[in-house]
Assembly symmetry: none
Homo-oligomer: 414 residues x 2
Amino acid sequence: MKIAVVTTGDEILQGIIIDTNSAWISERCHMFGHEIVYHASVGDSEKDIINALKHAETIADCVIVSGGLGPTVDDITVESAAKGFSVQLQFDQNAYADIERFFEKAKRPMAKTNKKQAMIPEGGKILCNKFGTAPGVQVKFGKAIFFFLPGVPSELYQIFGDSIEPWLKSQSSGYCEYKVLRCFGMPEASIDEKISDIDLCGCRLSFRVKFPEVLLKIICRSDDKEVAAASIEKVAGQIKDRLQEVVYGEGDLGMAHVLGEMLTNKGLTISLAESCTGGLVSDLITNVPGASKYFKAGIVSYSNDVKEKLLEVPKATIETKGAVSEETVLATASGIRKISNSSIGIGISGIAGPEGGSKEKPVGIVYMAYSTKDEEKAFKHFFSGDRERIKLLASMTAINMVRLYLTKNINLQE
Amino acid sequence: MKIAVVTTGDEILQGIIIDTNSAWISERCHMFGHEIVYHASVGDSEKDIINALKHAETIADCVIVSGGLGPTVDDITVESAAKGFSVQLQFDQNAYADIERFFEKAKRPMAKTNKKQAMIPEGGKILCNKFGTAPGVQVKFGKAIFFFLPGVPSELYQIFGDSIEPWLKSQSSGYCEYKVLRCFGMPEASIDEKISDIDLCGCRLSFRVKFPEVLLKIICRSDDKEVAAASIEKVAGQIKDRLQEVVYGEGDLGMAHVLGEMLTNKGLTISLAESCTGGLVSDLITNVPGASKYFKAGIVSYSNDVKEKLLEVPKATIETKGAVSEETVLATASGIRKISNSSIGIGISGIAGPEGGSKEKPVGIVYMAYSTKDEEKAFKHFFSGDRERIKLLASMTAINMVRLYLTKNINLQE
């Protein structure tokens, strides 16, 4: 079934509130195997509402509308719709009784204006609103089924769950399965190029950039749930073969989470000596619940004397090689590892900008290193963008550096 | 001028991402006195894109489109639009040169697929994208001016600000002035209650929660620019009188920025000893360009031995009072101040959850303290929400603690 979602309200059009109802409704419709073809938002204007609903009716089998069911003068969605499709409004005794009961229960007097909420298009069916006065309405206009729902999220969720979900389920055939592959370290265009010729086995592939990551979603619709799942696995396998370590995980868990699981499984601990990333790597790592099991300490050393004093970096190293150098990050990585008595130490230093760059060391240059009792290695990167973007890119690259190190050193243990 | 906003992307229609671009664009158009008549979102389907753009062209003078300018096969917005309005695409040498430069600067090879991003509809003008490869496009289709922008917010904001805002301004009559007051530490409903009866002097007031801050926008339209500005100042003055120190700043600069300016003006330096906030305070402070002038060091001490070893917290304090206690944060604040030789030391310790809470010290409890050579003080807070929310609330509250301390100690100097 093709579904259109229309939300109404001047506040949405003026950018005062962000329309979250459309995404909420769409996610559920999509889950039941329906295709959402259109979202629209219009203001509290009869003409605009009619235009949008008539357009929706031409492209969808079902139109879900939210907003404008309240009692005030600017709540005109249902009456505009009825007018647009030349259907009469009728006073609905049951709807009115529900509204009366709501006010009785709330021990508040009912305003005259609430009576208008019981006016329902001919042929329509009311959908019980447990949390407010505006009943939902289900009605056929033209060739599409329309659902009218309040814009207040809590009321919308309840009516949708109780009255629309069962109907959506009954209207859908087959299954929609999906899997998300999480990628880091290769831009969207290159990923696309690398996998453009794989056999999609009837699946659909969508790309989403969640900067600086790229999420690949493999979607399969089938009458047979197992067939869908098997097709997805085949496609996922091909993608992983092509992209290798660029695919760092699946589903909802981000890279810091994946790293956390690797550290936990191997019984390792980690500590950080950050400079240009300013604490962001620590922040990302400690966003993962339970990070205290493997994260011991982070030092953000913005000044050179802190690098010398706390991280025990030789003064000569900073003086001869500079704070932003391979030698310094190797020294801070090893310093923080020893001081905190961790399995792995990480050192990062660079120039996040916008000031502080030079010809030899431009804004965006970042050195990073890891240090373990057996091995240490430094890397040099150039990132582009503003300060926050460089911080984020450098931080994710540092986390990925540890992930790759652990992937390749599968037997590393304390 | 009537404006329509169209966003594209399967992920929006499937409810995977919430479309925030429409609200962002609309807010700005509205500010310049234009009327937004329509929002629509469609999937990455040629037919649906053409349908939506053709509908928009019939109801608006200007159509702003975001999304689908990337290099991959599902990025088809511009080519679909050109097809729908029967306009040829042409290879644009300047656009191509910009894309080449982007990859050169990033020291990455350009994928073949990026070439497609330089195909521009005949008669179109490219709008420079400083942060990505997809140039914006301005072109007249039918009777409306169309703007095509990338869906990535940072890229969209830059192109919109540089290329569309000046044009929107030129198309509007009269003046629309505004001022944003930034508030922290009081919920939206309480702010509303406190200021509900002030004289708005013809201005409009809008509330926006940018968690955990509340932004109050005072907007005034007038034929006379100075009259508008004066009205805004009157309203801003009344709001500041009512809300006092809850209003921490104006405009775009966040609290870490405001704190940075205070520290710079007073010639003070700061260092942090974080525990439950995990580096987020350091991250927020170092997001401000030039933070290296006043930020010396941060230590994220997740383990007790790091607290003892690096921050010189007496073992007895942690053993008798616990790591999450007034005594410990006072000790870490004073420890980091002395070690880093800073004017102000901050200590934070708490339980961010979801595990680790107890009856006496539930999830969400956070102690924080500041320490200077003259004074030290600790505070106890309870925050609610998930781990990331508690980290953010605690971090912002800690930055605000220093701001309030400096506001009250206006003569504090090194």
